[in-house]
Amino acid sequence: MTDMKGGAAVKVKTPTKGSERIPRIPFTREMKKDYTILIPMMAPIHFSLIKNVLTNSGYNVELLENCGPGVVEEGLKYVHNDTCYPALLVIGQMLDALKSGKYDLNKTALMISQTGGGCRASNYIFLLRRALKKAGYGQIPVVSLNVSGLEKNSGFSLTWPMLYQALAGLVYGDGLMALSNQVKAYEVKKGSADALVREWVAELGRQFNEKKGYSKKDMKANFQKMASDFNAISLDRKPKIKVGIVGEIYVKYASLGNNNLEDFLAEQDCEVMVPGLLDFMLYTVNGVPEKSRLYGGDKVQAMTYEAVSQYIQSMQDIMIDAIAAYPDFVAPSRFAHTKSLVKGVISTGCDMGEGWLLTAEMIELIQKGYGNIVCTQPFGCLPNHICGKGMIRKIRQMDERANIVPIDYDPSATRVNQENRIKLMLAVARENLEKMGESKKTPYLPDTAAPSHLNRSLPYHQWRRWRTEMASH
């Protein structure tokens, strides 16, 4: 193919084809009939709603909730160990499921989302195929769930009704999540909020199946009822520590990824706020006009995306208005408002991974009274070095209420370590809560008057001399 003796380098014409190494098995029309599509679980409320949408469209879908030690083990075995934790978990969960014997391997397909940004997450689907091949499941088709046209399959297409339903599903999911979280921590009868969420998920599934529930009119009615339902739950509103969770999208939502963070915080007697999934969607859409603004490019495309964004925001407004009608509830912010918060902190051009949205969510949470924040990320998550950990100093400079703890998640981080750091954040939070006079409980911090025994046990003269020396430096 090339001249070896001739000394200088010669152009290579036909390099080997990677696609032959790991062939892509398409998901065909035929397969749609009797294949079961497995989807890894992330945000439970949202994904249950989306699952209903897919089921209504004639797909056999199952959400994977297996979470034993086998999941991580499979992931470590078949995925490069330095890859981000979410990829390792998601792929591990799928392989664990395939190996469980529950599924007919010749009638099973996998579905995974593909975002297509500059983050390595766009490569999950390729990592999954590589893992499947290594594990001997090369025959299993993988369906890419994307709206950017990265990969297409004849047997799976997002139709307009599906898209509408899915979008509405995301908005409903955000609403249900926001409402239930605010109620859950205070409900008199434990479990009422969760029960109500289940009822609504079922109800919305029924409505979608009858091609109802996703027009703006229906959404308005549903949301008003939903907010009123949650408002009706009887609460004991004693002040609690309010904690926000932000971070890389998978570890932020998935309990498998974050060692049941929400449950842990609930055990620690906190109210939890998790910013919605719709904002992430809007953030992705927003990237197109943003790029055109920064670097130039297709103006028509940019305007189309802007219009789409506006439309989705109008759906978001319905949810916000319904929740905001009850002053006891904190309603999510409109995307445009969230976006405006990062001005002077980070540019909206920073759009790999969670990008500026993560920073924006932290600021928004602080402004809404959720200044105690757990910032979750997989160990070595590149975008979060920038928009998470990298921005904490600036955020604190702006607002002293910020009490942020970044927590890394990976297969080798121990839960004890993570929880200990979160407890530190909570200890500071508790003190702040008590300082604000919201609680009658005796504060942790004892009075600062020097106790009598100090004269004996602490070398005060030494201390003072040292202090004077310090001052004169």
Binding site: P15, R21, H80, G136, E419, N420, S452
Partner: protein, 990 residues
């Protein structure tokens, strides 16, 4: 009455306060990870000391106390918070508290905006880390402290985590560095880690207080902090007990003391941990196992007067030294296996001398040495051959199993695995610095728990519920084991669990095989760690196959070296010293002496810290050098090193930017503002572009210099994320440099996209390269004084670019600047960038042609453009060049390859070059690719697999080198020499 219990990762502390909050009892004990037992014991002691107390306000704190508190329903106080409460009462004047514990490091900023910080999960241990280091030096902590007092110099030791530091220290010791200096260096590393990891840009000033065990007991550690912080901190009374005091002060709930100790013990009986199948079901199974493995034996033969000749093999490993004498029939005459105590030289001398004295009539016909200490031993004793470990091990393995196709060796610090194909080493897997520590890890652990290594290993054989520790890095393992102990795991089950996890580390972190592709059909295992039956059994269980462990598993390197010496001598009977074996004679041995001195090399700007070993007869061995100049005293040969060419070319641009080298004639400087450019990440390769662009607009440009350790230290205080890659961390230093130089403007744009070179599906930068300017802007306080331009720019759109940058410059730099002028400057800049590219490509081709003429191997040292920086790659290019091969970069080859489909989303410009270069290398017989990967690079988790696949598909060996702050080239040397040994390309002139 208030009681505070602080159960840390290594110690348990207790204070009792009377009703006036006076301390009436305090106790500080190591718990040797027997947490529940120690806590119960402590409570019983308390009952004796305070016989009349039935109830007390009690709270528990400490990292190991959390679970305990929960299960006993005793209030828990987070330990940092506890410190803060105690400090608030006892030290109202303190501004900053630095507290080091067994595994945690904490900084509390008390004044000017209270903030508490704790090390991230990666930073590893501090106290435990120092314990580990002391074990390595074979001293206790007190002695370590005393040694540090007598230090003369400080070496740079990677401070990220224990494993890294260890791999820095070990070679230093092996090369004869003074232990005193190493001790001081360890403290300096801890200080550097604490400041870099925790201060994150916040200055530590005012009244500084030191708390916790290490800082209380180690005066030199305090001195090291003092020096680094330019202050004199205070270590107050009760400095060990602040956490316990905090817990006591916060205790609100009255707890019944009677029965508490019993409840503790009950809790530990639950054995509520995750466990695995036992190694052996019963004694009988173990017996069968032993019998099977005893078959792979080598003959031992008592030396006798009629023995015709002997061959001497030495394996100077990282922690142990192994020596064998082999006779003409490959039988072992005598052998030795011992820890090297940091200096292998006297052991070799003793072994050799004893042999000479016992068998004066047996001639030693040949000798060879391998391992970390190869160079020093070879020089000290005039050993005939120095060979790379992998070759030595293969030689030995082939003796037991000629058809061997896979060898795995787990030694003290390394895991080495290699595949054999056609009697040559085909593929090599070495552990990354991050997951190493296998053998010596088991040893350290055994010692920490109060056992000898062998006893500890034996205990594990019959543990019926081995703890599931997974596969993870040493530092994390510490806390996991503690957690398991807390949950009641017995020592037997922990030992078994550790053996299994060593195997899992080797398999899933280093080799990463899958059931679908077996490792090999004929597997030989060796190395000291496999002498542990538990590890061997776990390996067979995990692979579900039977392997061969030669009875001399620990001696294989030395045995292979001896066989190699024999083979060579049979080929070429006379060594180069005129027919006589080169090895020192008995007389020379008797007069042997060894002195060590340190010096700074002044031959170039690297200023390497050299360790000079001088042996009797004037033989010298110098280590610590990055290049051969201090040894040969000649300037290095850079003809065939494209890295060097690139560095020089970029340095020219740097000079030109400042208006030198005739540049001011081409582009007259007429603006008075000086623009600073930090030389790293996205700026590195684009320097030609920005130099011309700003010069053409009439600005003088100050470019920060090539990175160095000093530069890094300048900026390390403001790095917000301690796990980000080293190239990114260095940017803080570059910015500091520019600030110090007093530039008016620093220009460092964000760039989502790189230029589209048509090789991939997209042309992104990685998130760090793209957006690091945002991090700089948010974390460098100094930038508030000057103008920092870090807008988003898209060079990939040459049409729109001039307008976009004009808008930015007009707004932020000069509102008189004209668009036409900017357009012209941009055009010139694009032209210059193209010129630079062509120069690099042309030089690359020139080197290839020249190398082929001289029949030299060509190594494509592939990475990112900024890996060319000497501080980032730690002189790896020069090291490789020293083997007599040519070095080119990936971007010299990538233009020769057309766009191609891959199995990954090929969406980053720099990475698509990698894939292209790999494809190209696949078509060239005399080229091999070595990939440089920065630690923490998430993107490379994807690229490495793909590059590996591309190369393997074309029958090439894939070699990956992970680089970080780490400055140790020992592992790199093994890898490269093994690669070259496999392709037969080493050309050394010694």
């Amino acid at each position: 009455m208030r009681i505070g219990l602080d159960i840390g990762s290594t110690t348990i502390k207790c204070v009792v306060l009377n009703r006036y909050d006076e301390v009436i009892y305090e106790s500080y004990q190591r718990h040797y990870s027997q947490i529940t037992e120690s806590a119960a014991k402590l409570l019983r002691q308390l009952a004796e000391v305070l016989p009349n107390v039935k109830q007390a306000k009690l709270a528990i704190s400490g990292s190991a106390g959390m679970g305990l508190a929960e299960s006993l329903a005793i209030p828990f106080v987070q330990e940092v918070f506890g410190t803060r409460i105690a400090a608030g009462r006892l030290l109202p004047a303190a501004d900053v508290i630095i507290e080091l514990g067994g595994e945690d490091a904490k900084i509390l900023f008390l004044t000017g905006g209270m903030e508490v910080r704790m090390n991230g999960s990666c930073a590893g241990g501090t106290g435990a880390f120092m314990d580990q280091m002391a074990t390595l030096l074979e001293v206790n902590l007190d002695e370590l402290n005393q040694m540090a007092e007598r230090a003369e110099k400080v070496y740079t030791i990677a401070s990220r985590c224990g494993v890294f530091a260890k791999s820095d220290i070990q070679p230093l010791l092996n090369q004869g560095a003074r232990k005193e200096d190493v001790a001081a260096s360890i403290f300096a590393a801890v200080v550097s880690q604490t400041i870099a990891g925790l201060a994150q840009g916040r200055p530590i000033k005012g009244g500084v207080v030191y708390l916790g065990g290490p800082l209380t007991f180690l005066s030199q550690l305090r001195a090291s902090f003092d020096k680094s912080l330019h202050t004199t901190g205070l270590c107050p009374e009760h400095s060990l007990y602040f956490v316990a005091l905090g817990a006591a002060y916060s205790a609100e709930e009255r707890i019944e003391l009677a029965g508490l100790a019993e409840r503790l013990e009950d809790y530990s009986k639950t054995e509520s941990y995750a466990f695995m199948a036992p190694l052996f079901a019963d004694e009988e199974e173990y017996r069968d196992f032993r019998q099977r493995h005893e078959k792979a034996a080598v003959d031992f033969h008592e030396p006798a007067a009629e023995t015709a000749g002997a061959y001497f093999g030495i394996d100077a490993g990282s922690t142990t030294i192994k020596m064998v004498m082999v006779d003409e029939e490959d039988r072992i005459l005598c052998n030795s296996y011992q820890t090297n105590n940091g200096n292998p030289v006297p052991m070799v001398r003793q072994f050799l001398q004893e042999f000479y004295e016992a068998w004066p009539q047996i001639p030693i016909k040949g000798s060879a040495v391998t391992g970390y200490g190869e160079d020093i031993i070879r020089r000290a004793f005039r050993v005939d051959y120095g060979i790379v470990e992998t070759v030595a091990h293969y030689k030995a393995a082939a003796h037991f199993m000629p058809e061997v196709d896979f060898i795995i060796d787990i030694g003290g610090q390394d895991i080495k695995c290699f595949k054999i194909k056609n009697k040559a080493i085909d593929n090599i897997f070495l552990n990354e610095a991050c997951s190493s520590g296998c053998g010596s890890f088991l040893q350290t652990f055994a010692n920490a728990l109060g056992y000898g290594t062998e006893d500890f290993a034996r205990l594990g054989l019959f543990g019926q519920r081995p703890v599931d520790l997974g596969s993870r890095c040493t530092v994390f393992m510490n806390s996991l084991v503690k957690q398991a102990q807390k949950d009641g795991a017995s020592i037997e089950n922990i030992s078994a669990g550790l053996s299994i996890s060593v195997v899992k580390n080797a398999l899933y972190k280093v080799i990463r095989p899958t059931a679908a592709e077996p490792l090999g059909r004929h597997i030989v295992v060796q190395g000291g760690t496999f002498l542990n039956d538990g590890v061997l059994r776990a390996f067979e269980q995990e692979l579900k196959t039977q392997v061969v462990r030669p009875t001399i598993a620990g001696l294989m390197g030395a045995y292979g070296a001896a066989l190699y010496a024999k083979e060579q001598k049979e080929k070429i009977p006379n060594s180069k010293e005129g027919g006589k074996p080169g090895l020192l004679t008995i007389d020379e041995l008797k007069a042997f002496s060894h002195a060590v001195a340190s010096a700074n090399c002044g031959l170039c700007s690297n200023h390497c810290q050299l360790t000079i070993n001088t042996f009797s007869g004037g033989r010298r061995f110098i280590s610590g050098n990055r290049c051969s100049r201090p040894i040969t005293n000649k300037a290095e040969d850079h003809r065939l090193n494209l890295y060097e060419y690139k560095r020089r070319l970029l340095e020219e641009y740097r000079q030109k930017a400042a208006g030198k080298m005739g540049c001011d004639e081409e582009y007259p400087i007429f603006k008075d503002k000086v623009i600073g450019l930090p030389m790293g990440l996205n700026m590195y390769e684009l320097l030609p572009f920005w130099q011309v662009f700003f010069n053409a607009l009439g600005y003088r440009v100050m470019v920060s210099p090539a990175s160095s350790r000093e530069l890094y230290l300048k900026g390390q205080g403001s790095i917000p994320s301690d796990t980000i890659c080293y190239p990114a961390k260095l940017m803080h230093g570059h910015i500091q440099y520019l600030l110090e130089q007093g530039v008016d403007v620093i220009f460092y744009p964000c760039m989502t996209y790189n230029l589209d070179e048509g090789l991939g599906d997209n042309h992104y930068n990685c998130p760090v390269v793209a957006y690091y300017p945002e991090v700089i802007a948010a974390n460098e306080p100094g930038l508030e004084r000057i103008k920092f331009i870090y807008d988003y720019l898209g060079l990939h759109r040459p049409k729109e670019f001039p307008l976009k940058i004009w808008q930015i410059l007009w707004e932020k730099l000069d509102n008189k600047i004209g668009l036409q002028k900017v357009k012209k400057a941009a055009a010139k800049a694009y032209e210059e960038l193209e010129k630079y590219r062509q120069k690099v490509e042309a030089k690359g081709h020139e080197i290839i042609a020249q190398a082929r003429q001289e029949e030299r191997q060509i190594i494509v040292l592939a990475g990112r453009p900024y890996h060319v920086d000497g501080e980032i790659n730690h002189g790896i290019d020069q090291l490789i060049a020293g083997f007599g091969v040519a070095i080119i970069t990936e971007d010299a080859l990538s233009p020769l390859v057309e766009k191609h489909p891959g199995t990954v989303l090929n969406q980053w410009t720099y990475h698509s070059r990698l894939y292209a270069a790999a494809h190209y290398v696949g078509t060239q017989a005399d080229m091999n690719l070595v990939q440089l990967v920065s630690f923490g690079c998430g993107v490379d988790a994807i690229t490495t697999d793909e590059v590996n696949d591309i190369l393997e598909e074309n029958g090439k060996i894939y070699t990956q080198i992970k680089i970080d702050e780490i400055a140790n080239l020992g592992a790199v040397r093994i890898r490269l020499r093994s690669l070259l040994a496999a392709v037969g390309g080493e050309k050394r002139d010694d």
